[in-house]
Symmetry: C2
Subunit: 421 residues, 2 copies
């Protein structure tokens, strides 16, 4: 009988266990497919003026330490129409000790500089052995730009979306020499505008876009509505990867108000599972054979079980449970070449290479969030891939992501690893 303990954190900290310093040094630069910037306080006011009634801006003030708390702490608070969103320690926790990370508000001055400053970020990536990062929004803009979808003044919101993308593409991606890749946002409320924004961004190097894992949960047309075709078409045509970050449906599930936050955090993957089901059922990969999607921060170990289940429910004839018209092939048929998993702490994925394929799992460091691995990403990457042969490891940690996001600087030094499969 094997031990009941799956993972003992104290054991991984034991000196001498895990990869050696030598192995860490020899590892080629990692490509991380999910990291975040903190939106700078003057991002929109510098372009649109600072009318506090309209333009997103930051106010430094004292706010409650938590819901129902009498204690006040200083915080930088985003203010935009009716919304007030303080920076929260857990959304920019990089560099903090584990016991300092919580849901308490804070100021930008308390955060590591790399969260908001490009050159400081590049230096932090060097410390961590990260060659490339794919950059997402943070807790104000939210993971597919929901804050602008919810805005009342949609004309202004469209301007804000464009300013955000300009900033990410021109201030972070362009000067970085392909070390920083923007995952842009789109005006989700208008699919033609969204498709146009994908094309506008693609024309200047954009290659990834944030989309909602479950658009109907944002009050938008569903994956079965046909509404999103122009956006998917634009992404397929421009080789723009559709990234669906956890949280991008603005819903999280838990069991009860008194359940610890870990219940919803550990189960974030359930929305990704619903989303993958939609993508496999809705036929988008039949209509757009070049379309590629990634489940950012969703890991991979749940995918094989779900896909087996979908295949076993699949019926080539009439079945009341399945899409109508039915899929001509089992759902798993549409995984390969379309669906990418993004893994930060999931050893189980390696048991399932037969389902997802060694070409579709990518590593992520999730800077600057609490699940992020900075400054130990090399160590985590090697621990995650300890049981696979080196060419497969190179695929997970570097090549798959470089191919997906077309990182020429990585691809040109590296032909596709030969795995003997």
């Amino acid at each position: 009988m094997t031990s009941a303990t799956v993972h003992d954190r104290s054991a991984t900290a034991t000196e001498g266990s895990g990869p050696s310093e030598d192995e860490l040094r020899q590892l080629p630069g990692l490509v991380s497919v999910d990291d975040h910037i903190v939106e700078p306080p003057d991002l929109w006011t510098s372009h649109l003026g600072n009318d506090p009634e309209k333009v997103p801006h930051v106010v430094r003030k004292q706010v409650p330490r938590g819901a129902g708390s009498d204690e006040l702490v200083w915080a930088d608070v985003w203010v935009y129409e009716d919304v007030e969103v303080p920076l929260i320690r857990a959304f920019q926790s990089v560099g903090m000790a584990a016991d300092e990370v919580d849901l308490v508000p804070l100021t930008l001055d308390e955060c590591r500089k790399g969260v908001v400053d490009r050159d400081a970020r590049l230096a932090d990536m060097d410390i961590d052995g990260i060659e490339v990062e794919v950059l997402f929004p943070n807790n104000f803009v939210r993971f597919c730009g929901q804050v602008f979808l919810e805005a009342k003044d949609k004309k202004l919101a469209l301007e804000c979306v464009k300013i955000y993308n300009d900033y990410l593409l021109e201030e972070w991606q362009a000067p970085s020499g392909e070390r920083l890749i923007a995952s842009t946002i789109v005006p989700l409320w208008d699919v033609e505008l969204a498709a146009a924004e994908v094309r506008r961004n693609a024309a200047r190097g954009g290659r990834a876009v944030c989309f909602s894992e479950i658009p109907a949960r944002l009050g938008l047309p569903s994956m079965y509505s046909g509404y999103w075709e122009p956006l998917f078409q634009a992404c397929a045509e421009t080789d723009t990867v559709v990234n669906m970050h956890i949280g991008s449906s603005s819903t999280q599930h838990t069991t009860s108000p008194d359940a610890p936050p870990g219940v919803r955090i550990a189960n974030h993957f359930s929305n990704s599972a619903f989303s993958l089901t939609d993508w496999l059922y809705c036929g988008a990969f039949i209509r757009y054979p070049d379309l590629k999607i990634a489940f950012s921060e969703a890991q991979a170990g749940w995918i094989p079980f779900l896909v087996h289940r979908l295949d076993n429910l699949w019926s080539p004839g009439r079945d009341y449970r399945n899409p109508d018209p039915p899929l001509p092939n089992p759902p798993s048929h549409y995984l390969r070449d379309h669906v990418y998993a993004c893994v930060f702490d999931d050893v189980d994925m390696l048991k399932h290479i037969d389902v997802l394929g060694e070409d579709q799992i990518c590593f992520e460091a999730d800077y600057p969030h609490p699940d992020g691995s900075w400054p130990n990403s090399r160590r985590r990457a090697l621990e995650l891939t300890a049981t696979v042969e080196r060419p497969v490891r190179d695929k997970f940690l570097r090549y798959n992501a470089a191919k997906l996001y077309r990182i020429e600087r990585v691809l040109k030094e590296l032909s596709e690893p030969t795995t003997g499969r």
Copy 2:
């Protein structure tokens, strides 16, 4: 590169593939841990009179074929207080061809006799090579007796709960020679009454009870409230297994109203994942070292990923995400000897024996539901366990369930299979 197709249904139907007729004949009787009766139309009226204002009873009438349909079909409809629940083909589909199974109402006369008649059920089990079944309610009572929780007259509802349990224990379990095991229901609205009902049933051979996978979703106190301690205490004391069937939180998730039913069906496991998180976090297994729970119809392939994730979130010190006070051991520590997975179509579980353990996976045939395997349960059981050595197979298909539900008739002919682990 391996094929993208995980499972090709047409291939499994090919003659010559899968287990041979000889292998099927030699298989010892299966123990199935999740099957259902259909509540007989006169179950409550025969004891409580037939005042249609009060007592659950059946009316045969014409009802719409489906939501918004003008077409009428004959159906047997349960009537109880404000509730009208027709029998639905998909809830008693055993024996129907795949293309006859749907959500259309029907009469009991159209159903296979074994759904409602004990001796017919035993004969159907013989046909299918099933030695023992654990019996759950069906779509009127619902999978932890929610219909009585929702009733207005709770005094009458308690009587109804007792009549149901009397029927299941005395008419099905007792005369069956341990071939039929009742999963009883309890008055969920009063934990002291619920604990008393567990003890009343245990005294006459009861050994399993239906509980909600997420009680707070039924408007009941949460798993963290302390409210359920008397029930857990009663179950631990009486060796009563706590069964949580999918659907027992009265919630199912989907992505949009126009999504096919398969989205929620394939993702039923997400509620089980939330439930397992609660059970591992709430400390019940620390307080009740003898308590055993089973996730009926939830399968197993999702468990290792979730448990790894919970372990990696676990911190022996302070962590804002985890239970307070924190668990002294990582969540996975509390799996072994407590948590049982019930599998009907999940080959992935076999890749994860190191996490769940070969002692805690049980087979289920799910008679008479659409995922049920009748009359091919032997074939499905062998396909599910094709890659494991015979003693492990015997554990999955027979011994683990017999030990969990204390089926002496199986245990006495079989010592614990030796697996060499």
